[in-house]
Point group: C2
Chain length 262, copies 2
């Protein structure tokens, strides 16, 4: 009760001391859902999003009416397919994904390890597709998951071939380690990016998990700009040569498919 007074003069919605716009609230509500928590009661959502019970019910009700959320027979709330539909129907990146799928399948069939496609989004590597065979190793990556640019092979590719500002921003910011091998020193990362540019691909041995190595190549558009990174996750001591050939072949295929579709 006393806590609320802290924000009493902040910007916000009418009569609301919480200091956020309607849109912000909306996103906060959607963010209470996670891969492991896909159904919640309205009150539960309110608690997690920091909303009063009655407000939570009103907002959730509106979202259900709009089809962005769904109310199951058990009255619990789930994320609506409408949301996915709106996003998928009209996104540039997802047409890329569609074009890339056949080539990714080919890589997956030959290399038989996790094959994934990442794009740059908000200074992260965002994974838009992942194929995994039954005999592939462990993998922290998830579809719709993110990894920091400095700590993944896909990220290194997106960073090394991205624009100057992005690089400076990431080099300036904190470089959190995900494992013992993750580069955290700006100088070391700068050298690594040089290496990626000269080699034309990125190798991230043990950057995420000690036992595995990321291997990524750039996918470019007609103008030569890097729009995505195609990668595989290999066991730490595996030979990279064969996978690399397949990756390059697939990347060229995707580029051709994207160009042709125009």
């Amino acid at each position: 009760m006393a806590l609320r007074a802290i924000a009493w003069h902040a910007d916000g919605v009418a009569n609301s001391p919480s200091g956020d716009s309607v849109t912000e609230r909306l996103v906060r509500v959607l963010e209470t859902f996670t891969p492991t928590r896909t159904a919640q009661t309205a009150t539960e959502i309110g608690r997690r999003a920091g909303l009063p019970a009655s407000s939570a019910h009103r907002i959730v009700g509106e979202l259900v009416d709009a089809g962005l959320l769904e109310r199951g027979e058990d009255r619990r709330i789930r994320v609506g397919m409408r949301l996915w539909e709106l996003a998928t129907r009209s996104s540039h990146a997802l047409r890329l994904r569609q074009a890339a799928l056949p080539f990714m399948e080919h890589v997956q069939a030959r290399v038989r390890e996790h094959t994934q496609l990442a794009i740059l989004d908000q200074d992260d590597a965002l994974f838009v597709e992942r194929l995994s065979g039954p005999d592939a190793g462990a993998n922290v990556t998830r579809v719709a998951g993110r990894l920091p640019l400095h700590a993944s092979s896909s990220g290194l590719v997106l960073l090394a071939f991205g624009d100057r500002e992005l690089q400076e921003r990431v080099l300036a910011g904190p470089l959190k380690p995900l494992s013992r091998a993750t580069p955290t020193d700006p100088q070391a990362l700068r050298r690594k990016l040089d290496e990626v540019r000269t080699l034309g691909h990125a190798l991230a041995p043990g950057y995420i998990e000690d036992v595995s190595t990321g291997l990524a190549v750039p996918v470019r558009d007609e103008t030569g700009r890097t729009v995505a990174a195609l990668s595989v996750v290999l066991p730490r001591d595996a030979q990279t040569e064969f996978a690399l050939v397949e990756l390059y072949r697939a990347a060229r295929g995707i580029e051709r498919a994207m160009g042709a579709r125009r």
Copy 2:
């Protein structure tokens, strides 16, 4: 100007005569994007969503801040990846898609025609994945596209094995034809659904396009409820036997994979 007065006493947002809630407006803005129109100016969005220019700019600005929309270097607005991310991260149906992908690839590799996965959403068949080989025929289906339940093989499966209320609702509603062969008579549709239930799969010859036939089988969960339809699109006069065997095999595989993941 005079027009506006018509709605002067309708419910709506503060000072707004347009009679809609904030959430409705958000959805209307998102719906101005289509597969062929992926980038628009803020004013353009406003025009299409029926919003005044200054309001459109404010709302779009908020959505951009929230990451649901993105402003390109050309200042034009695109759908943000954040939207897709939120939807994909936490949707039940998309875990289904992930489980189904390997099996769909297998069907696609053997049958070499369009292979697709649909779920029931808001009385439509919503296609959550589609694989197409280079040599496959034409296909109206798109990922994130919809087809009526009575007019597609996937829809017939979802309808025939769906609950009673759904069937009555669809049988009562108007049955729009998509081609000459689409069933539009409730009695005929009722017989067709009986046929689907006894056969265990759906055959939709020429329901959508004269030249092709849809073939779909149900995918069920542990409790026996049908959660999706797996289908292929064959040339009108093709043999269905081989494809059918592959579809059933894949459906069983998906069911096993879903059960195992639990």
